[in-house]
């Protein structure tokens, strides 16, 4: 346990070593946030409510989603770390180390996520809340559930990225699967438009998939519109995806390792 805690700290420090990158990322996220906020304000000039989201919910969505963008790594440099090591063969060294590759990568990713949460998500959200009128829940309980949901979103996002990286064992080049995953990630997580905007049952279908568990789920809890009408359902779904993806990643790693050994490493 101590070991994984230390690995998480290293993951954190790896990002805190580049403050200029953080400021640049913050700038870009805020710029996108402003654009999206003005677009949604224009949308809500025509209507009062879409799929349970009023204008203040929608603007809250903008600033939470832009903040979580880096925390759950909708896209970012952390996408390729392992894939590049698989391609170069360095992963053989990783597998010889006396620690679990999946757990140690997860620990480092959690450290990365904490850094992004403190230095990107929270400042961005506070700024958005100051500039725009957004929904601010007044029950402490909802804030707590929101925090739990964010904590669960991190292993879900890790699970998706880990499997994506492992595709390199078979394809060597990671660019194809990356693009495919990027497309799914962007639209099905709720990053581009809130899933509540989707017509009819597409909305519910999208919220059941793992992508929604890493971004839309915490936001839905925050604005009081969780799937199934209660936060417990949304959180259970998140736990389910985190566990399922972890187990699938484990099986994929075992199969990939076997293949690596056959090729002679």
């Amino acid at each position: 346990m101590r070991l994984y805690f230390e690995l998480a700290r290293r993951g954190y420090r790896r990002y805190s070593a580049y403050p200029a990158a953080t400021v640049a990322g913050l700038f870009t996220n805020i710029f996108f946030g402003l654009l999206l906020a003005y677009i949604l304000l224009a949308v809500y000039a025509e209507t009062d409510e879409i799929g349970g989201y009023d204008v203040r919910d929608a603007i809250a969505y903008v600033w939470i989603s832009q903040g979580l963008f880096s925390v759950v790594a909708i896209f970012g440099p952390s996408w390729f770390d392992l894939a590049i090591r698989v391609r170069s063969g360095d992963v053989a060294t990783d597998l010889q180390r006396p620690l679990d590759l999946q757990l140690s990568t997860l620990a480092q990713d959690v450290g990365r996520a904490w850094y992004q949460l403190f230095f990107r998500a929270i400042p961005q959200f506070v700024l958005g809340a100051i500039i725009f009128e957004i929904t601010i829940p007044n029950e402490a309980g909802r804030w707590l559930l929101f925090a739990v949901s964010i904590a669960l979103a991190i292993p879900v996002s890790f699970g998706i990225r880990f499997m994506l990286n492992l595709c390199s064992f078979w394809l060597l080049d990671h660019r194809g699967p990356t693009l495919l995953a990027l497309a799914l990630n962007n639209v099905l997580s709720g990053m581009i438009v809130p899933l509540a905007f989707f017509p009819g049952s597409l909305d519910t279908l999208a919220r059941l998939l793992p992508f929604a568990s890493m971004l839309q789920a915490p936001i839905d809890i925050y604005v009081g519109e969780p799937i199934g009408g209660n936060a417990a359902t949304a959180l259970t779904l998140q736990v389910g995806w985190a566990v399922a993806l972890y187990l699938m990643g484990r099986m994929m790693l075992a199969a990939g390792t076997r293949k690596l050994v056959l090729q002679g490493g």
Binding site: I50, R175, P177
Partner: protein, 270 residues
Amino acid sequence: MADLRALAAVYVRLVASRIRAHLEYPVSFSLQLVGTALLTLIDFVAIAVIFVNVPELGEWTVGEVALLYALATISFALTDLAIGHLDLFPQMIRDGTFDQILVRPLPSLLQVVTMDFAPRRIGKVIQGVVVLVLALVLLDVDWTVARALAIPLAIAAGAIIYASVWVALATIAFWIVDAIEVVNAFTYGGSFLSQYPIGIFARWLQGLVVFVVPLAFVAYFPALYVLGKDDALGLPQALSFASPLVAVLAALVAGAVWRNAVRHYRSAGG
């Protein structure tokens, strides 16, 4: 002129070799094509989903916004195809491999943009053309020769404007190598912004894209002209025709910025 022709030949040869390199991994390349098609399709989903819920956006109909989207997307896709690999350039500064570029007898910018070439990006150009056709079907444009000419002219000018903004901002890497994500705000962010009517944005943002980073000339002003719409910003009508001129100016500024930045380059090796 002979010089330019020689450079063009070098460019074609370098790009062809990059394309061959991509075809070395056929499964990954096919997935990339599917991914690009999906990604660009999804891009338009955002607009489609908005118009499922509301009839108009800032007094623009779905057909009109589709025209903005098509102009912005085709221009940006062409820029991305030609110089999208400027994204990799900060890594060259970090590693010090930019040194190699300076000792070769070719313009540094030409070498940087031909480091890689992603043929899959053609998919994005095609998707933009599809949306353009869709927009023209949805719209009832009062066609004149000038209006018909305005569309290809806007696309060419738009591509040059995007490229200029990209090159000029990428030079930030010569000074602060980690800060390169700032460029994304104006390139990817700029292409996103140009897909929407400028009138819905805050006043300061409108000023920024008209007078500082001239993104309003990519799609907004040309679309106003083609559609015969009034400018919500209340600017002179003549700006509707200014895109080609703005593009030439932007390219000259970007070229000057790049040359100046290269002169200030200090290798990672000290």
